[in-house]
């Protein structure tokens, strides 16, 4: 379980996060939802230690972040993190060199699934292809958790569909997934849990199926209710 407790973040004299607390369970797809600028990316970055928190705690399976965390939790940012001069094959090689959790066979499967060409250079990828390659790099690690920042934003419909397809496969199955999005509608039925972020705090945290059966509301309905007041 990933636990975020009372996370605060100040940036340029503004309180971006103002005591954010939630959990993301293993084996579930949890979605951090909020309008642009709500601080979703900052939460993911702070979990991964890519930006300091002003206050608060992050625990992963009950432990503070440490070196081994990076073998256990994969982070897929909203852009590629491999230098432009690398070939795709060199990027995979780099990952294999540094991560014990790297699964080369799985990387190969994913490259095939997304029809990526290993001799292409990272700098030449289109937006949709870059997003797919980004996903390969993150998902080919045998990690317990995967964090994804806006995996569906800014790419074409077909890329979006093939990325959504990944969520229905055993690539995701059994892992804990925490993703962010600002447009939930399209992927609503992929989610187990939603965390609504607004004004630097968690406005609501709920199981999607529970809200549907108890209140007959979609995630978007709840979002409208909570975020538009």
């Amino acid at each position: 379980m990933i636990e975020v407790v009372n996370m605060h973040k100040r940036y340029r004299l503004r309180n971006v996060l103002n005591g954010v607390s939630f959990t993301a369970e293993k084996g579930q797809v949890t979605c951090l939802i909020g309008v642009n600028g709500a601080g979703k990316s900052t939460v993911l970055k702070a979990i991964m230690g890519l930006t300091p928190m002003s206050k608060g705690t992050v625990r992963i399976d009950g432990r503070a972040r440490e070196r081994e965390t990076y073998e256990k939790v994969a982070f897929i940012p909203d852009h590629l993190t491999m230098p432009s001069y690398m070939k795709l094959s060199e990027g995979l090689r780099f990952m294999a060199d540094f991560y014990q959790s790297w699964n080369q066979a799985r990387a190969g499967e994913l490259m095939k699934f997304f029809r990526l060409d290993t001799s292409e250079r990272v700098g030449n990828l289109s937006k949709g292809t870059a997003a797919k390659y980004n996903l390969v790099i993150g998902l080919a690690q045998d990690t317990d958790y995967v964090l994804m920042d806006e995996p569906f934003s800014g790419i074409d419909l077909f890329s979006r569909e093939s990325i959504a397809e990944v969520f229905s496969t055993d690539l995701i199955d059994g892992r804990g997934v925490l993703l962010t999005t600002h447009e939930v509608g399209e992927i609503e039925h992929l989610l187990d849990k939603a965390v609504l972020l607004s004004h630097g705090t968690v406005a609501k945290e709920f199981q999607c199926e529970q809200v549907r059966s108890e209140e007959g509301k979609s995630v978007v309905d709840v979002m409208r209710e909570v975020l538009w007041v």
Binding site: G49, D97, F98, Y99
Partner: protein, 282 residues
Amino acid sequence: MNRYLKLLHMEIHRFRYILAGLMAITAAVQIGVIIRTLVREVAKRKEDILNHQSIDVGSALFPSGKLSFASTMFGIQFWFALPILLSIAVLGLYIFLIWYRDWFGRHTFVYRLLLLPTARRNIYLAKATAILAFILGMLAFQLLLLPVENVIFNLIVPAEMREASYFADVIAANQALPFLLPQNFDQFVFSYGLGFSAVLAVFTAILLERSYRRLGILYAILYLIACAAAVIILPVSNQTYFNPSAYLYPEEFFMIEMVIFALVVASSVWLGFRLLAKKITV
């Protein structure tokens, strides 16, 4: 250790074309200017012989009238030093770029570096070692280039026009080389130690900026001023190595300066590690 070496390999690999380019420019410019100068000098002497003029009438540069490698080096100061200065400028700029290139561009590699399952100090150490390797690599290349240039000298200048010279004279003949290659080992360690502690201080300044951004620029400048002040406080207070009326003995002066350097290096490295581990932001 293993991952540190991989990171170091990667840093060197990323710079290999620029490094090779600098070496190529250095070799081309130095050898080119040597060939041009010598061909001209040799032609002039042959012409003199044809005109039945005595060969021992020397010039200011070649008093005996014969050509020596050392005096040739003395004669081509500017063109010889130019590629060295260029290399220094590029390496100096790369001290900054080795960090900033990871933050800038469409694909920010710094995310990946900070997500590696290794202690973050290895990133710092790999970059620092890479800079040191580039400097020493360029130096070694220049050292290897000198004998090659000597061979070229011998090929162009006929034996009867040649005068032997010592290697030490060759190095002393040029303004730039004694700086790069001090004559005694203590001096070598001292100047390169000074240079490298400056590199580490700049690294820490960069990390301060990357951690605190706009406010970080202020911290960075203050940090560099503090480091510079610590280092020059003794010499400025007239306690120089050469000043016979100084309060401190030269050995004492040297020891204290060394301790100050050690402190600057230690604080830079410690602060750098800490910023990278706790405060850095992507």
